[in-house]
Symmetry: C2
Subunit: 107 residues, 2 copies
DNA sequence: CAGGATCCCCCATGATACTG
DNA sequence: CAGTATCATGGGGGATCCTG
């Protein structure tokens, strides 16, 4: 079985694989906000400046499927859903902090 | 004058502004490779697994315009062009290192 | 409140061929 | 070698309305 080009990249280079996952327009901002702790959907939507509902839903599903974000739903009325980082997600803290510091200084 | 939404984001939030700049599919990988030192165009093209000429040219121009990469051309035959990080670009090292470490562990 | 469902569009990304 | 020029495309991203 011959591999696709994109597959090859990700396979052979963990760095590129990581960036394939993290380089979404909103990905890092979402993770950044969740670093502070658990947030509800609406809180996240307000925290991530400029994002819209559809993209937030989409990104959260992706991050959940990749095991970076944990989703906790409560059967209340109205619904309550809380998002938090998994251990794997929390391990990104050094990355977030580094970007944070660079951005404050250079942007 | 009322500002566009995208403009507001970048203005108000340095983190988001930084990610707007860095979240390209190839951006971090290019910077990562340049961390090691100066590289010629062809060397970069080989180093950044999977990229094609057009994208590399485009990214390099962007990074140059943002003051992260320095371009040095020599009037030789055939042409020689060397790319290196500026001081501002080198300040991204903590970010690169953090991604690197996470990727090796988690990807 | 937390999403689903749609419609839409532009641009990032890609492949290929060509040149000083 | 270091690009430029073209053409093509898909999906990332957005806006809006709807619902359990």
């Amino acid at each position: 079985m011959i591999k696709e080009k994109a597959e090859l990249q990700a396979d052979e280079c963990p760095f590129q694989a990581a960036m394939d996952l993290l380089s979404g327009k909103w990905t890092m901002s979402i993770i950044n906000n969740l670093m502070a702790g658990t947030l509800r959907f609406k809180q996240l939507e307000r925290a991530v400046t400029g994002i819209n509902t559809r993209m937030l839903v989409k990104e959260l599903k992706l991050l959940e499927s990749k095991g970076l974000v944990h989703r906790q739903a409560y059967a209340t009325v109205p619904p309550t859903v809380e998002y938090s980082l998994t251990e794997r997600g929390r391990l990104l803290q050094p990355v977030i902090v580094a970007v944070q510091e660079w951005s404050v200084r250079e942007m």
